[in-house]
């Protein structure tokens, strides 16, 4: 079953012009310069400190680093980060 899904999804985005974040359940990251990052479709916070925010996603983690981080808003599957962001890194799940 899973294989059919994985096979079908790129086809949906390609031929039906569906947004890829919705189809793939991938996080959507909207950034305003380096001061704001709005991350939707994540699977929860795993680490949050002054200098680092790490969010779980469907196949790994997103790591944002910088300094003076404040989570302006926390909602299910949504996070608004404020601070000075210097790095956005995708860390694949260790298998």
């Amino acid at each position: 079953m899973k294989k059919i899904h994985q096979y079908m999804r790129p086809l949906f985005t390609k031929y039906l012009a569906l947004p890829s974040d919705a189809v793939h359940e991938l996080p959507r990251i909207t950034m305003i310069g380096q001061i704001h990052a709005y991350i939707e479709n994540h699977k929860g916070i795993s680490v949050f400190t002054d200098t680092e925010l790490r969010l779980r996603t469907i196949n790994g983690y997103i790591q944002l680093t910088g300094n003076s981080f404040v989570l302006k808003l926390m909602l299910p599957e949504e996070v608004l980060l404020e601070g000075k962001i210097s790095d956005v890194k995708f860390i694949p799940e260790k298998e």
Binding site: G44, V47, F48, F69, K72, L73, M74
Partner: protein
């Protein structure tokens, strides 16, 4: 952001979470649909964030058994402010009372200013105002309207020609103009008596002067009845007349003549008469814009037909009119009656009506001698009559004699 809007109104608290990986606790809250905002990592073991007041109970449930420690560091929003304010009951009471006091004092009349009239009339005005309940210390909303006050004053104080009544907040300003009574000077000096109306003379009482007409003479208006010139035959003896100066007196007397009038009257055969039975009920409302809140007497009286008189009285706060006003509404019971007359009755009413109408036009002492219906007709449910009335009245009027200029 809509989740955190208006949280100031509902209230929110800042919580401090202590423990290993405190951000995980916030994540657990978010998983239970509790929005959290302004999350800050204070130090490796502490994290603070804002949470809505209504979510605290659920947040405590989540915390149970997790080992995190929670302290409330700040409370913000209206509920807390209100609580703090409510804690100082004397302050609340004082604020309310002072507001009430200002409202009360704003609706009391403080000053009655009367200008433009001498002191004696001023005193009269003050007395008259006192009688109708207008004096310093009276409630302004129990007062009549300025135009009513004005009419009342003009009616009761004949010396006043005009009075301007103006209500300015808690003062009433009256500006009066005194009537200077000029007595109409009676015609003095030599004068004739002249007829004012045509008629047949019935009686003459001449105390001074030379009568020119006799009983049963027909006179036209303007005709001289009694001459003030005592010398006769001025026309015949013109040559003599010039040499002898005329002896002039002020003619006095009464000339009663029979005069006649034709009056038309129309009387409907069917009339609807509305009578107030005297049964009434007074209701009081608080009115805000178009909405009326009954304050006193909530039920409508069970009158079949009513006539409602409303009187609106505004409430003031300082000099401003509040949108709230007190409305006194008097409900009068009304009864309407259908009255139909026969033609004979209608004519009788018409005669009566015409008689009254005529009496108002006639001078004092006039007597209606007889009346005769000349013509009557029924048309469109109405009776039309023409009435011939004979009256006996004094038709003499004084008119000054202007001495002819000597050539």
């Amino acid at each position: 952001m809509k989740h955190v809007q208006a949280t100031f109104i509902t209230g929110y608290v800042t919580i401090m979470v202590k423990g290993q990986m405190p951000e995980i606790f916030f994540q657990q809250c978010v998983d239970h649909d509790i929005p959290i905002w302004n999350v800050k990592r204070v130090n490796p073991k502490q994290c603070e964030g804002n949470i809505r007041l209504q979510d605290i109970r659920q947040m405590r449930k989540i915390r149970r058994g997790t080992g995190y420690k929670i302290t409330f560091s700040r409370k913000k929003g209206l509920p807390f402010m209100f609580k703090r304010f409510w804690g100082k009951k004397e302050l609340v009471a004082a604020t309310l009372l002072s507001g009430l006091l200002i409202l009360l004092l704003s609706n009391i009349l403080w000053k009655v200013e009367i200008t433009g009239v001498p002191t004696d009339i001023e005193k009269k005005i003050t007395k008259e105002l006192n009688n109708s309940g207008i004096h310093p210390g009276a409630w302004t909303f129990s007062m009549d309207s300025p135009s009513d006050i004005q009419q009342n004053l003009l009616k009761h104080i004949p010396e006043l020609l005009w009075v301007g009544v103006e209500k300015m907040g808690t003062t009433i300003r009256l500006e009066g103009v005194e009537k200077i009574v000029v007595k109409k000077e009676p015609v003095s000096g030599p004068r004739d008596l002249v007829a004012t109306k045509k008629g047949i003379i019935k009686k003459m009482y001449v105390s001074k002067g030379r009568p020119l007409v006799y009983v049963n003479d027909y006179v036209e208006p303007g005709e001289v009845l009694v001459s003030g010139n005592l010398r006769e035959n001025e026309n015949v003896d013109e040559e003599k007349e010039k040499k002898q100066s005329p002896v002039l007196v002020s003619a006095e007397g009464e000339v009663i003549a029979r005069t006649w009038y034709e009056i038309h009257a129309t009387i409907p055969l069917k009339t609807t008469q509305e009578i107030l039975t005297g049964e009434q009920e007074t209701k009081y409302y608080m009115q805000l814009a178009d909405f009326r809140l009954p304050v006193w007497h909530f039920l409508n009286p069970d009158f079949e037909e009513i006539q409602v008189d409303n009187e609106k009285k505004p409430i003031y706060f300082f000099k401003w009119k509040l949108p709230i006003s007190i409305v006194e509404s008097v409900i009068n019971e009304k009864k309407s009656k259908q009255i139909s007359h026969t033609k004979k009755e209608a004519i009788q009413i018409g005669v009566e009506q015409a008689r009254r109408q005529l009496q108002m036009q006639l001078p004092k002492g006039a007597k209606i001698i007889s009346e005769k219906i000349l013509h009557d007709s029924v048309d469109h449910g109405k009776v039309k009559i023409a009435l011939y009335v004979t009256v006996e009245e004094n038709i003499a009027q004084a008119e000054a004699i202007h001495p002819k200029k000597e050539e």
